[in-house]
Symmetry: C2
Subunit: 335 residues, 2 copies
């Protein structure tokens, strides 16, 4: 066992702007022997998410900053190869923050065991049946509280979370307008996923387009982006609007501090709220979401796609697909 090598991406520098190759170091070290209580996981799929960028900054977020020299933090799925922990046995599939590496040794803290269901591909547990599905489900339904007949605007709408949010919004009975970064993505939203309208923010003035597509104003906004797009949404919110703040991807790569919305006073004028949330607060209610998402998937009411990049060595470049908008669905790396 100690002869086996573990290849890893370690954080080598604090990124400025988007990740660069030089922000990571490709290292390898022998896989050590297990201590009592530990288990060895062979990682199979690595989840790449916008939040990865925040973790690499010097400042702590909802989790401590990744230390320079440490293995880069990342959600992953793997199979237990060896266990000296009574809660896990060899062959179990597990998910957790296993890191950008081929093998992880852990005491099992925070690790989830995956159900043994051959009908569900493993990558689904990094997406629809994982943090992505829970984020969309609770971020929209619990934080945004959409009602039938209301208008929902989803930003980052072609992303893994956003594309689900819009489809759930349709199930609720909302008019759903998505904002995305290419005509192809917009077509996917309206033609394949059933969004009522989609706006390509790179080609259109978002405020004008929202005025056109939201003739009755905006009641709920599932916000992944921030910046000018959030300001445009704020300009058109209705009385009592709810903005579910999931992310601010427009500013994750900014080298300088990014100002918040100029239209903040609209929250007063429209008696509206912006509410942030983290999916981790909903883990104890995961069952409800999984049941609903699974049912909708089988009923054909939601569609879901995964963008698989081959090879752990590609992770540092692949993660930037989240920020240049070139990913097509939930981004994962096959290790």
């Amino acid at each position: 066992m100690t002869e086996r090598m573990n290849r890893q991406w370690r954080l080598a520098a604090r990124p400025i702007g988007t990740f660069k190759d030089s922000d990571f170091q490709w290292t390898q070290e022998p896989v050590p022997a297990l201590k009592e209580g530990e288990l060895l996981v062979h990682n199979q799929y690595l989840s790449l998410d916008p939040t990865n960028r925040g973790w690499a900054n010097e400042v702590d977020t909802y989790l401590p900053a990744v230390k320079l020299g440490d293995v880069m933090r990342g959600g992953a799925i793997g199979v237990v190869e060896e266990s000296r922990n009574p809660s896990f046995k060899a062959g179990d599939h597990v998910s957790g923050l296993l890191g950008w590496q081929e093998y992880a040794i852990t005491d099992g803290t925070g690790l989830g065991k995956l159900p043994d269901n051959p009908a569900i591909p493993l990558t689904a547990y990094l997406g629809l049946f994982g943090h992505i599905g829970l984020t969309a489900y609770y971020g929209l339904l619990d934080v945004g509280q959409p009602k039938a007949g209301e208008t929902l605007v989803v930003t980052g709408a072609a992303g893994a979370v956003g594309s689900l949010v819009g489809q759930i919004g349709k199930i609720v009975g909302c008019r759903v307008v998505g904002i995305a970064g290419s005509d192809e993505k917009c077509r996917w939203l309206t033609e394949d996923l059933g969004f009522d309208a989609a706006i390509n923010y790179k080609r259109e003035n978002v405020l004008e387009a929202l005025k056109r597509e939201c003739p009755n104003g905006i009641d709920v906004n599932f916000e992944n982006v921030g910046g000018v797009i959030l300001d445009s949404v704020l300009a058109l919110i209705n009385v009592g609007a709810r903005i579910s703040l999931c992310g601010l991807i427009s500013q994750y790569n900014a080298a300088e501090r990014v100002p918040g919305p100029y239209n903040l006073a609209m929250l007063i004028v429209r008696r509206a709220r912006i509410q942030g949330f983290l999916v981790s607060d909903y883990m104890n209610r995961a069952g409800e979401a999984m049941t609903a998402l699974g049912r909708w998937l089988m009923e054909g009411k939601i569609k879901y796609r995964v963008d698989v990049v081959e090879g752990l060595e590609q992770a540092p470049r692949a993660v930037n697909k989240l920020f240049d908008g070139s990913n097509q669905g939930k981004l994962v790396v096959k290790i």
Copy 2:
């Protein structure tokens, strides 16, 4: 009756920055005869509020912008002199948006009749028993939802609303920290009103002072100010914090658009919310607040002061006391 003259302040120009004398025109016109359904109110006290500044801009807020040439909008209290409206009779005291003028003719829409209680000074209906008291009561209790043992930060704390909010926070059992603009105001907050601490934002770094005075972080923020102060609060909010957004006085006089908070991402990290509100939404629940505020006043649990400026002709200059911080309590003009 038609011989009597009505002196009025009309909006003459869109203000840039704080109000200037030239933004208003002092006019007079005869008081016309009443039509069926109308009543004539002799105004007695005019309420000056930060929101006056917003109403004077070209852009509509929660009310339509005041048109150039129109009598300046303002809350006021007066006595009915003559009535051809069956709901009001001569001698009734009323409050409503009667404007910056000596006499108002109205059909009674939006007008409230004041109780006939000689123990309560008329100015109280522009303050503690009016929109000020309701704003503090519902903005804190309904929107901010403070709980005993939590830390409440009140900005604009020496203002009419803020000073009440802090005292209600103490009644709830919070640690209350106020932010105000002079040492004298800070002393008033801590020595007379029972705030646990007060920070003079003109003399101290607000972020550092908040770290010192809020050792357990911030759970509730009653926000009147915005800008750097809101950013400092956001930096220190606890998980689940509620920011009750009442006003953004730091930007009402800005000639250019003012950016929102730089620390907006803290809403995600701390699963917190910013919620705007308008007191007008709580008018149908006024009784509950009045009863509680009246009881607390009689029990000596809240104190309240009024800053009376003599003479309607002083209104344009007096209103700027709200923005330079020189008012001492609820600002009213005795007409």
